[in-house]
């Protein structure tokens, strides 16, 4: 187990280097960011040259990359154009997005698994069909539509919730954005759970458990559900990474100043330290989440062992 974890951690190093270089290269390809800082006015050449030198933009790409990586290993992610250090931005942005992600994942897990279990147990019956239709509808609505729609209905029309999230980002205000963020994945979780449950409900161990005279809820929660959750856990693991980075649209609609907001600003202003720094952390989150998922397999299914 320990060796397995170490091997996986070591594998992250080339992925980390490769992905940072790719991102660095792509942001670099967007072109020189200095001109945009001067608005509709042509940059004053002397000031522009000074800024380029300061930001290391006058060096060739490979030198810039080495310089940047050197900084990262000293714990310095560079400075955004508005004078804030990228670390400072991360400290303010990641906790916000993490909270939003947690809200979204809790919603999609609870609602998705419950709906999945019920429709899986009643395969082909009314509830199964209605859940199927419901999930199809939800999957086909893009986030920006559901976002603006729910925001308008809950925020303006009915006045049940604030349409945007205040700077302190309290969890209760994150429920609506969390729901919007969770909606699409929720449908997948439901479908995955349903299929898995429907398959396993006829498995020998379930029949044995029932034959032993165990109460129905115990059969379902301890035996059936635990064994059926493996594909769901895989999905949620990869989804955490996707939710954290992919919340750009949701964060924009609800004015949440998290990772998506910083990435959006960074891309718009071609601010490579911000973009590369944030994406690098996201890559790490993604890798760690995947490792965690693999380790969870062993917990869920005792037949799986790592060496």
């Amino acid at each position: 187990m320990g060796r397995y974890v170490i091997r996986r951690l070591l594998q992250m190093i080339p992925v980390f280097i490769g992905s940072t270089f790719l991102i660095f290269f792509m942001v670099y390809a967007l072109g020189d960011p200095v001109a945009a800082m001067f608005g509709e006015r042509a940059p004053d050449p002397a000031t522009a040259a000074q800024i380029r030198r300061e930001l290391y933009l006058d060096a060739p790409l490979w030198k810039q990359y080495l310089h940047y990586m050197g900084q990262i290993f000293q714990g310095n992610f560079g400075t955004a154009f508005n004078g804030q250090s990228v670390i400072e931005l991360m400290v303010s942005a990641f906790p916000v997005t993490l909270r939003l992600t947690v809200v979204a994942v809790v919603i999609e897990m609870v609602v998705g698994v419950v709906l999945g279990v019920f429709s899986g147990l009643r395969r082909g019956r009314g509830i199964d069909t209605s859940v199927l239709v419901l999930t199809l509808v939800v999957v086909s609505i893009p986030t920006f539509v559901s976002g603006y729609l729910l925001q308008f209905l809950f925020g303006v029309q009915w006045g049940w919730a604030a349409p945007s999230v205040s700077p302190e980002v309290p969890l209760n205000e994150l429920l609506l954005p969390g729901l919007v963020l969770a909606l699409v994945s929720l449908a997948y979780v439901t479908r995955l759970t349903r299929t898995s449950i429907a398959e396993n409900v006829r498995a020998d161990y379930v029949r044995t458990a029932v034959a032993k005279g165990l109460p129905r809820h115990r059969v379902i929660t301890r035996h059936l559900l635990r064994n059926s959750l493996i594909p769901v856990v895989t999905f949620i693991g990869t989804d955490i990474g996707a939710l954290m980075g992919g919340a750009i649209v949701t964060e924009r609609i609800f004015n949440i100043h998290g990772v998506g907001y910083q990435l959006y600003q960074g891309i718009l202003r071609q601010n490579s330290p911000t973009v590369v720094g944030f994406v690098t952390i996201l890559v790490l989150v993604f890798l760690l989440a995947n490792l965690l998922v693999d380790l969870l397999y062993a917990v869920l299914d005792p037949r799986i062992r790592y060496a």
Binding site: A35, D44, S92, F118, V156, P163, N172, I267
Partner: protein, 538 residues
């Protein structure tokens, strides 16, 4: 159905569980405080480093300079300056009023100005507004075009005593005192230099507000400064500027009563804004003009005889229809190269452009034919697609041109992904056809609408237009001491533009905004920025 009910219960349980851990907060501002929409300023909030409107808003609340532009008329009026005297339009003596301090108690003296201007001009401080100090003697030494600076301070600035300093310019510039209301010329306290990062975290100025707390990228809370000595103290107890990435969200927040003031009504809401807000919708002229600029460095557009094509294209655009249908009259068809906010005395002259700015498809076809037709029979209009919903009006504009010229593919839009890339292409002179340009004035002077944009090598002369007659007239106007005469000469220079048409004036942009029932006495200044200190909370 049991499943559905259970699911609902589970969701509610999770919701209350999460809500319980959340520690209150949020909601509207405290009593007397106005919450307003804001965009994250691009640069640190230093006066000489703020060249866009979002940072400018804050500086307008935190600082008062020698002059201030009247929020209604746009006229430059003395604030800290007691008088600015000159006999030759080149040597100025500035005398300050007494009794002004910064909100940390430090006195505002001649040194507060001179040090701040020296800081702004010095190359190594990388201030983006440094070129605003270029008319002051010694600028070339502190801000050489290449290499490191030869001097630390501008030789043209001399402190005489606490309340007097003199300024020597390197050329005659009669309206120079009127430029001093711009943010770059604000005074700075000593704390700015002593603890720079601390100052940036919590800027200190001498305006009607002081910073209460600043969470960068999220919210800036400003409170009324009780001891403000100026004539225009805040009539509310504070302003909370909240950063919005999406102006639709800000508008929704306003509708829901979660926000008091938006100063940018999204284009998609313009149709319904009147029914939503009624008299709480503001739509008034601002000092912004939108143009279509030609790449004069490209022979196909700037060569001899091509002014006929450029003038013809101007006549092929139905400005009235586009401002009505696309902009819902938040823009007005332009007939000169300035802005109505200047007023007739300031140099605005409706119809100066003449027949070239009047929609006339027949004459347009004729002129373009005489000028040799569109280069290659086809043109593209380049714009940046990331902000400002430019696509809508560019498409409408091309449609108008296509209809006028009777050809389906005479004109198409050419989007560029980001504003940065767009600006890079312009700076590198890589435009092969006309492109969108917008100009927001720095100060309400006709000079600011002409010299930076069309003078040879002007700082915003994107089309690289160069005309000896125009340059001479601008120089002449700058040297004239009589304001009326100077304005008339600037208008003569503008007539050169009407003949040459290096850029097509499209429309004057209005400032727009909306506010909640909680506040009143809301208006926009000529820079389309709300006059925050006048807002009253009901």
């Amino acid at each position: 159905m049991r499943g559905a009910t259970l699911a609902k219960w589970a969701l509610c349980a999770a919701a209350t569980g999460l809500a319980a851990t959340a520690c209150g907060g949020g909601g509207g501002g405290s009593a007397g405080v106005v919450s307003a929409s804001w965009g994250d300023p691009q640069n640190p909030l230093e006066p000489a480093n703020t060249n866009e409107v979002q940072g400018g808003k804050v500086l307008e609340m935190l600082f008062r300079g020698l002059k201030r532009y009247n929020p209604k008329t746009g006229a430059a009026e003395n604030v800290l300056a007691d008088r600015i005297e000159t006999t030759d339009s080149q040597h100025f003596t500035v005398t300050l009023k007494g009794g002004w301090t910064f909100s940390n108690g430090e006195k505002v003296t001649a040194r507060s100005f001179v040090d701040a201007w020296n800081y702004g001009a010095l190359l190594t401080n990388e201030q983006k507004n440094a070129p605003f100090f270029q008319y002051i003697d010694g600028f070339a030494k502190v801000h050489p075009t290449s290499g490191s600076p030869k001097a630390k301070t501008l030789s043209g600035l001399v402190v005489k005593d606490d309340r007097t300093f003199t300024v020597t310019l390197n050329q005659k510039f009669s309206s120079w005192p009127d430029t001093l209301g711009y943010a770059a010329f604000m005074p700075l306290p000593q704390a700015f230099y002593k603890d720079h990062s601390g100052w940036l975290r919590k800027p200190v100025g001498n305006g009607p507000y002081r910073v209460d707390s600043y969470e960068k990228g999220s919210v800036l809370r400003m409170r009324k400064w009780g001891k403000y000595p100026g004539p225009d103290p805040a009539r509310n107890s504070g302003i909370d500027l909240r950063v919005y990435t999406d102006n639709n969200t800000a508008y929704t927040d306003l509708q829901a009563g979660n926000l008091d003031l938006v100063d940018d009504v999204p284009a998609s809401q313009l149709k319904s804004v009147k029914s939503d807000l009624g008299s709480r919708y503001i739509n008034q002229p601002a000092g912004i003009i939108q143009t279509l600029t030609f790449p004069m460095y490209d022979k196909a557009w700037g060569g001899p005889g091509k002014e006929k094509v450029r003038r013809g294209l101007s006549m092929a655009i139905d400005r009235n229809q586009i401002t009505r249908e696309i902009f819902q009259r938040t823009r007005t068809p332009a007939t000169d190269w300035t802005s109505p906010v200047l007023g007739a005395d300031g140099g605005y002259k409706a119809g100066l452009c003449g027949e070239a700015c009047v929609f006339n498809p027949g004459r347009a076809r004729q002129l373009i034919k005489q000028g040799g037709g569109l280069p290659g029979g086809h043109m593209t209009v380049t714009y940046n697609a990331d902000t400002g919903s430019h696509k809508d009006w560019i498409d409408a504009l091309c449609n108008s041109i296509n209809t006028s010229l009777g050809s389906d593919n005479a004109c198409t839009g050419a989007p560029v992904g980001t504003f940065g890339d767009f600006r890079n292409k312009i700076a590198a002179k890589r435009m092969s056809g006309p492109f969108r340009a917008g100009w927001q004035m720095d100060y309400p002077l006709i000079q600011n609408f002409l010299q930076p944009l069309y003078y040879t090598n002007g700082s915003a002369n994107d089309g690289k237009f160069s005309n000896h007659g125009f340059d001479t007239l601008v120089d002449k106007a700058n040297a004239q001491t009589d304001t009326g005469q100077a304005v008339a000469t600037f208008q003569d220079a503008e007539k050169v533009l009407a003949a040459q048409m290096p850029s097509i004036p499209l429309w004057y942009q209005n400032g727009s905004g909306g506010y909640s029932e909680r506040i009143s006495n809301v208006s926009l200044n000529p820079f389309s920025v709300p006059v925050y200190n006048e807002i009253k909370v009901n």
